[in-house]
């Protein structure tokens, strides 16, 4: 069989990224321009600034990726692009570039949903085995998804309010950690013990999550202790928060696996890098004889590689778009 090369472009938030992947599983080259240092000044991603950076970087990133791969666009079979969800002004920079390249080089345009991208990042480690449950945890998403085949998604549940990554960043700010605080909070929590009593969020029979109550509980606890003049043990508070958040995610994931009698779990999204979550999922999967796949950190955060990888499977299924393809800030997974 002839090798298939897909060029993937991702620009849904604050990373401009381009990648070439062979047969959906082998990363040939990736170039990413990250804006974290710029947005640090504002304590979070500023959409207008993100868009300005994307337009500055887009052709540079594509050229750099091709140079690293020692390839030309003529050599790829198709161009895959994140069309949504995400920041609309950011998305459309990648979209217009991808549409233009697709037209100039007469290559099929493959539309990829950002969450599908995160899920397919696992293909770079091992091919997806169906049926599976995908746990997507990131700054914008907390979702449990059932897959019975390639691009056959069924959303079982998701967050009713804050995404888990968003909650991490907000709690980190209360504790006094700078943006992006999630990874710093993860590190700090290892120096502490879960001694503070916090509620386990949305402890019900659904596959949904809710983290705003937990976030408020941390903020209130911090505030009340300060009022009383008590010193908060930040490491213990971080550990207590992580304990509650992770328990909620693991218990809902376990329930989904059991209810649907599925033995494959894949984890996706930036929060998949969280060490406590990884450990807890590992333990749960071992106990229940579940096959667990978590991509390495570089494939967990937003990147073009996951878009190119999912682009391969979409290309095989002939999922092509025309030049009227538009960016969408919100759109159901498909």
């Amino acid at each position: 069989m002839k090798d298939v090369y897909i060029l993937g472009i991702e620009s849904s938030c604050d990373e401009t990224s381009c990648s070439i992947v062979k047969n959906g599983t082998v990363e040939i080259a990736t170039s990413t321009s990250t804006q974290i240092a710029i947005h640090e000044n504002f304590g979070g991603v500023v959409p207008e600034i993100a868009s300005r950076e994307h337009v500055k970087n887009i052709t540079i990133v594509i050229e750099d990726c091709l140079k690293k791969a020692n390839m030309k666009i003529e050599d790829v079979n198709a161009i895959a692009i994140t069309y949504g969800p995400g920041l609309i002004g950011s998305l459309l920079i990648g979209l217009e570039a991808a549409k233009t390249l697709s037209y100039i080089y007469n290559k099929p345009l493959i539309p990829i949903h950002h969450i599908a991208g995160h899920i397919y990042a696992n293909s770079l480690v091992e091919e997806l085995k169906f049926p599976l449950i995908a746990l997507v945890v990131s700054g914008g998403h907390t979702e449990l998804i059932k897959m019975t085949d390639h691009f056959k998604f069924e959303k079982l549940g998701g967050t009713l309010d804050d995404a888990i990554g968003e909650c991490y960043d907000k709690v980190a700010r209360v504790i006094g950690l700078s943006y992006p605080g999630g990874p710093k909070l993860d590190k700090l929590s290892k120096e502490g013990k879960p001694t503070y009593k916090l509620p386990i969020p949305l402890n019900d029979n659904s596959y949904n999550f809710s983290f705003s109550g937990l976030k408020s509980a941390v903020i209130n606890l911090n505030h009340n202790e300060e009022q009383k003049g008590n010193k908060i043990n930040k490491a213990d508070l971080a550990a207590s928060f992580q304990d509650a958040a992770v328990k909620s995610i693991v218990s809902k994931t376990k329930k989904a696996l059991k209810d649907y009698d599925i033995n494959n779990l894949i984890v996706a999204g930036g929060v998949a890098a969280n060490s406590i979550l990884r450990e807890a999922l590992n333990d749960m999967c071992k106990e229940n004889n579940i096959h667990l796949s978590i991509p390495p950190m570089k494939y967990c955060t937003d990147n073009g590689t996951m878009i190119a990888s999912s682009g391969y499977y979409a290309y095989k299924l002939n999922r092509k778009a025309d030049y009227y393809l538009n960016s969408m800030s919100t759109t159901p997974l498909q």
Binding site: N41, F42, V46, E48, I49, S51, R52, V55, K56, I58, T59, I60, I62, E63, I73, G89, L92, I93, L95, E96, A97, K99, T100, L101, Y103, I104, Y105, D322, Y323, Y324, L325, N326, S327
Partner: protein, 208 residues
């Protein structure tokens, strides 16, 4: 010489292809939304109507601002990606200058784009399209004050701006704009970026 012109800096898509001193295809269409969806398909229609492929282009001229941030980025991204892929000359130009060039009045010309809250993106040009007042994000009254001593001034705009001057509706003369810039040197496509003339609110608040 085959030139593609793109201006998406307002609520309009203004685009055209000029081949050897002739405007062979053009589009002037207003967009409330969906510019991001339709801009490229409309440009493709221009190629089809002109009977050429993008590979036969010699040059792209693109408006890099001022105006709608999102709008400008759509046109710029298409133009710079195309110029980079085809390895051809690209010249970014001011949309306000394009407005002045398109106006044949023998007077001073004040192209205006509404920037809300009594602000405009504006400039003043003489009858030969030389800049008297640079492109600015400016309080409308301040710009009018600067024009006070000039003999005769017409405003050019597509927005509803209340102003005590003769106002001409902007209708781009794409052939004239292209001829004006046809022999300009052009820049590296990577360096083609919007000129916003205005910091983001976040930067202003942070004092950056």
């Amino acid at each position: 010489m085959r030139v593609l012109y793109i201006d998406t800096s307002s609520d309009y898509l203004y685009s055209g292809i000029v081949i050897n001193d002739k405007l062979v295809s053009e589009i002037k269409k207003k967009y409330e939304k969906d510019l991001s969806k339709e801009a490229l398909p409309k440009v493709i229609e221009l190629f089809d109507k002109a009977g050429i492929t993008p590979q036969e282009l010699d040059k792209i001229i693109v408006v890099n601002g001022p105006g709608s941030f999102t709008g400008i980025r759509i046109g710029i991204t298409i133009a710079k990606t195309m110029a980079w892929a085809l390895n051809i000359n690209i010249t970014p130009i001011s949309g306000l200058t394009a407005m002045a060039i398109s106006c044949n009045n023998d007077t001073y010309k004040m192209p205006l784009i509404d920037a809300r809250r009594d602000y405009v993106y504006g400039a003043i040009y003489d009858k030969d399209n030389n800049k008297i007042i640079e492109d600015s994000h400016i309080y409308l009254q301040d710009l009018l004050d600067k024009s006070k001593n000039l003999s005769e001034v017409v405003a050019i705009t597509n927005n509803n701006i209340n102003i005590n001057l003769k106002v001409l509706r902007y209708d781009p003369d794409i052939l004239k704009i292209v001829k004006h810039y046809e022999n300009s040197e052009g820049i590296n496509p990577h360096l083609v970026n919007p000129i916003y003339l205005k910091k983001t609110e976040a930067e202003e608040k942070a004092g950056l």
